[in-house]
């Protein structure tokens, strides 16, 4: 088994190769504006580090967000296209789940990423493997999480809402891959690789002139 994991849902452009037991190569770069430029070279580098070619990959797992749209699509489009050429399954995993999976916390906590526009994407976890609420997007000021510990850049950004914010700040594809490998080994079905936008597209309907002309 050789899983290629990608996530571009957050400022981290992260890639990893996982052999079913552990991550054998990984790359993470944090740059919110250059997902499109950084991802393919990172894939190339990670494969080179492992001494493998892309066609050795037996499955792909991609972070489906939630995340700001433009960057999010880079990972999804890349994963979809690799899947098409290689003829291997493409799995989706919630980016917050991968972030939570890497948390060193036993009890209930929150994972939160930066949704920009002064909002966070977030979800509650009973433990690092168990999400107990659907991913949501909200203003931090509207959330009352009772001082639960929290991980992720979304938590670190808003200390008033997340007084007990902890590492990891960014999601890693190595964690994404490990979680996926664990789920696959347990015979669990992963999600489809479809984006979690959580917001409707911004679109202004132009003011219409009064209809004077019958069609």
């Amino acid at each position: 088994m050789l899983l290629l994991a990608l996530d571009t849902a957050t400022p981290a452009v992260t890639v990893a190769l996982h052999d079913g037991t552990s991550a054998i190569a990984a790359s993470s770069q944090v740059d919110a504006r250059r997902h499109g430029e950084l991802l393919l070279p990172a894939v190339d580098r990670v494969l080179a580090e492992a001494g493998l070619e892309l066609d050795a990959v037996t499955g792909i797992v991609v972070g489906v967000g939630p995340g700001p749209y433009t960057g999010l699509r880079v990972g999804l489009m890349t994963a979809d296209t690799f899947g098409l050429v290689l003829g291997v399954p493409v799995h989706g995993l919630c980016t917050l789940d991968a972030l939570a999976y890497a948390a060193d916390i036993e009890g209930p906590f929150v994972a939160a990423t930066d949704a920009r526009r002064k909002e966070v994407y977030w979800a509650r976890y009973a433990d690092p493997r168990t999400r107990v609420s659907d991913p949501a997007v909200d203003r931090p000021g509207d959330l009352d999480l009772g001082g639960l510990p929290a991980v992720g850049a979304g938590a670190l950004l808003y200390p008033d809402t997340f007084p007990d914010a902890r590492a990891p700040e960014h999601v890693s594809a190595a964690a994404l891959a490990s979680l996926a490998a664990e789920k696959l080994a347990a015979g669990q079905e992963l999600e489809a690789p479809r984006p979690l936008y959580l917001r409707r597209p911004d679109a202004q309907v132009p003011k219409n002139y009064k209809v004077v002309t019958p069609k």
């Binding site: 991802l39 393919l40 070279p41 880079v74 489009m77 296209t81 050429v85 004077v212």
Partner: protein
Amino acid sequence: MADEPLVLGIETSCDETGVGIVRGTTLLADAIASSVDEHARFGGVVPEVASRAHLEAMVPTIDRALKEAGVSARDLDGIAVTAGPGLAGALLVGVSAAKAYAYALGKPLYGVNHLASHICVDQLEHGALPEPTMALLVSGGHSSLLLSTDITSDVRPMGATIDDAAGEAFDKIARVLNLGFPGGPVIDRYAKEGDPSAIAFPRGLTGPRDPAYDFSFSGLKTAVARWIEAKRAAGEEVPVRDVAASFQEAVVDVLTRKAVRACKDQGVDHLMIGGGVAANSRLRALALERCEAAGIRLRVPRPKLCTDNGAMVAALGAEMVARNRAASDWDLSADSSLPVTDPHVPGRGPAHEHSHDHVHEVSKENLYS
């Protein structure tokens, strides 16, 4: 010919997800998925709606193009993609797909210019482009007059709109007339039953001191909207057909007049017209009339090749392969304002310098004799 380059092209600069396949100058497939219906209620293309639709449509459209062409992806000689100009988020979806596709297949990647592709597509219809070529590109996103001596290395802007694109003016006037979106086809239809000389709308930038090859449609747009609003304010019925015909005439009069003048001034004896507005029947008719009178040969591809599509990107990609142009690097970015003077985005490898030498060499030729 089997030894001509087999190239797949991906286009996502606006609202069409296009995947085309060509062999040299032969069109093999032109698969399109459009999100235009999703934009209609907004009266214009909504970038985020377009980007979401590209992501959904890409893989099925690639599949469809390969089936249509009856070729195997393994036999491709290269993958071309629109690197710009266009909507940033929309371009990025296509560039991401093209990179992953080329990388997974082990094929070279060519990030190419959308405008140069609009010109190059004519090779699929009328054979090799004459060199030099004068091109008038008119669509919802662009209105430019371009002169190219080599579509892979030398595209020179002669003129462009200083405000709105011609197609935008069609959309705006259609909206003011409550005719829906997109405006081009519906204005064309109404105009056929109207009188083009009924209302004397202004011809932008046609004064003796105005730039000879630049366009302006903003003043015309405002004049037409004001004229309609005045009618409505006076409680009179708006003569939609005459307004459509008179407005359309003002647009195509300026476009064709300036294009023919550019050909004459530069000593170029043929003109190609591309872009979505090239589907306009009055533009085609008037361009033909004026080109014939001036002894200029007119080349206009069929409407489906004039609007945005993947085949045009593949056509330019095939030319890049045929002329040994440098492939792009894996960190190719989508550039929403890629200059028209960059027909492609070569990588930084050694082949890059070679292609630049060629550019300089070609540029020295005297076109203006």
